[in-house]
């Protein structure tokens, strides 16, 4: 299962402990994590379920490209980091 780690900066708003979930894309993994932590979803994704404008996601150190559909591939051994972008102040 892929491992998901959230930025520490979100933790004071909503608890987002590191989690593990199965999936072959970023979307599949994250939706499984958010199923257990629904309040966290809107802190990372916007109303259209796209990645928020000033958030970034890395899969094994590579920034994802598909910010709308989150279709970037994930391996069973992957680590997904959900971070703030430096843009956005």
């Amino acid at each position: 299962m892929a491992k998901v780690v959230f930025t520490p900066n979100v933790q004071r708003h909503v608890g987002c402990p590191a989690a593990e979930a199965a999936g072959t894309t970023v979307r599949e993994v994250l939706e499984r994590v958010f199923a257990d932590n629904p309040q966290a979803r809107s802190y990372v994704l916007d109303d259209q379920a796209a990645l928020r404008r000033h958030m970034t996601i890395f899969v094994d150190g590579q920034m994802i490209r598909d910010r709308a559909r989150l279709g970037d591939a994930v391996k069973d051994s992957s680590t997904i980091h959900v971070f703030q972008a430096l843009s956005g102040g």
């Binding site: 309040q39 809107s42 259209q48």
Partner: protein, 366 residues
């Protein structure tokens, strides 16, 4: 008389209470976070606070007996697959709540009903104290909505919501930019209003088009709801027919530019404004912060400055940062440079509460 103020700032929500004859900061919530607006519902005392976390989006909180709880923020519906909608600069309009710009309680016969206006132009209604939200598709899908445009913000937005005190199904909203819209049937249908307003920033043939009007703030008199006041991007306008038609008030000194307007709840001819040098500068004239007041429907205005800084004051007062209490006697004023003033005599004199708050976005008696 209201003895309590909620002050929304870039770095937290401050509670200010009257203590003896003075007003003091007595508490702060969400310290460090961007609080953009509050509503305290006069029907049940519940307070709502809108936060903009930037990276993490716009959130809404509701007061409880033990503090605040996060409740769902209004959310836009899924954009149809392949549907493209671009703004005047050709940028794709993202169907997502970018800012909560208006929060208004529904009528006395609608407990729990809250209206919410947002950027980029969605209007929402909750009938369960904000626990769930319904988007007004009748307005969002209106063909003329696509003619709304960004004003002070990049995206169009709804900043004023006036629920008619005689009939809560009659609601008027102000849009920057997009004029004034009215429903007479609780949101089932919407019509554009506001004949008579004038837009200096448009070509002559479009200057009087109601859809082109940059309404900065819309206020309705509670005892005489046919009276509406508008602080507009290039002027002050008054209506005596519920916003159907407006008359321009010209020659108001020191300026007709500003953001907020409040109207007395029982005296429709009495209204207050905060004048600034017009749009290209947006600062008080000669560095003197002032409030203007009319008591005769706009025939004349008084400049009220006693107790307000009269040298090197560059305070800008945003549209939600001038408040009038429920009886219409006390006013409060908050500025972008962190100044907060209270008047207990309808603006004749002002007392400074503090001038060291973070930038103030909204002030509300609560």
């Amino acid at each position: 008389m209201s003895d309590r103020l909620l002050v929304s700032t870039r770095k937290g929500l401050f509670t200010v209470m009257r203590n003896g004859g003075d007003w003091d900061i007595t508490g702060v919530d969400f310290l460090g976070d961007n609080v953009t607006l509050t509503l305290t519902d006069p029907r049940d005392g519940k307070s709502y606070a809108a936060l903009d976390h930037g990276h993490f989006g716009v959130k809404l909180h509701r007061s409880t007996a033990n503090g605040w709880e996060e409740i769902p923020s209004p959310a836009y519906p899924p954009k149809p697959e392949g549907y493209e909608e671009k703004d005047m600069w050709g940028r794709e309009i993202n169907w997502t709540t970018t800012k909560i710009w208006a929060l208004t309680a529904g009528g006395p016969d609608q407990p729990g009903t809250i209206w919410c206006g947002t950027l980029p132009g969605g209007l929402f209604r909750s009938s369960d104290h904000g626990q769930s939200w319904e988007m007004m598709r009748t307005l969002w899908d209106h063909p003329l909505r696509k003619k709304w445009a960004g004003g002070g913000a990049d995206w169009p937005g709804i900043h004023s919501i006036c629920v008619d005190p005689r009939n809560a199904k009659q609601v008027s909203i102000g849009v920057s930019t997009g004029g004034i819209w009215h429903t007479a049937d609780g949101g089932a249908s919407w019509a554009l209003r506001g004949e008579g307003m004038r837009a200096e920033y448009m070509p002559p043939e479009q200057a009087h088009d109601p859809i082109s009007q940059d309404v900065h703030c819309l206020a309705q008199c509670r005892a005489a709801p046919q009276r509406m006041w508008v602080q507009h991007h290039n002027g002050i306008f008054v209506s005596s027919d519920e916003g159907k038609t407006f008359t321009e008030i010209k020659g108001v000194e020191p300026s007709v530019f500003g953001f907020p307007v409040v109207v007395h709840p029982k005296e429709p001819d009495t209204a207050w404004f905060v004048p600034e040098i017009k749009d290209e500068k947006r600062i008080p004239r000669e560095g003197k912060l002032a409030v203007t007041r009319t008591r005769d429907g706009g025939k004349s205005f008084e400049v009220l400055s006693k107790g307000l800084p009269q040298a090197h004051a560059y305070d800008v007062v945003y549209r939600h940062a001038l408040a009038l209490d429920e009886p219409g006697d006390r006013l409060a004023l908050g500025s972008t440079t962190g100044g907060l003033w209270v008047s207990e005599d309808q603006g004749d004199s002002w007392a400074c509460v503090t001038h060291t708050l973070p930038p103030i976005y909204a002030v509300r008696f609560a």
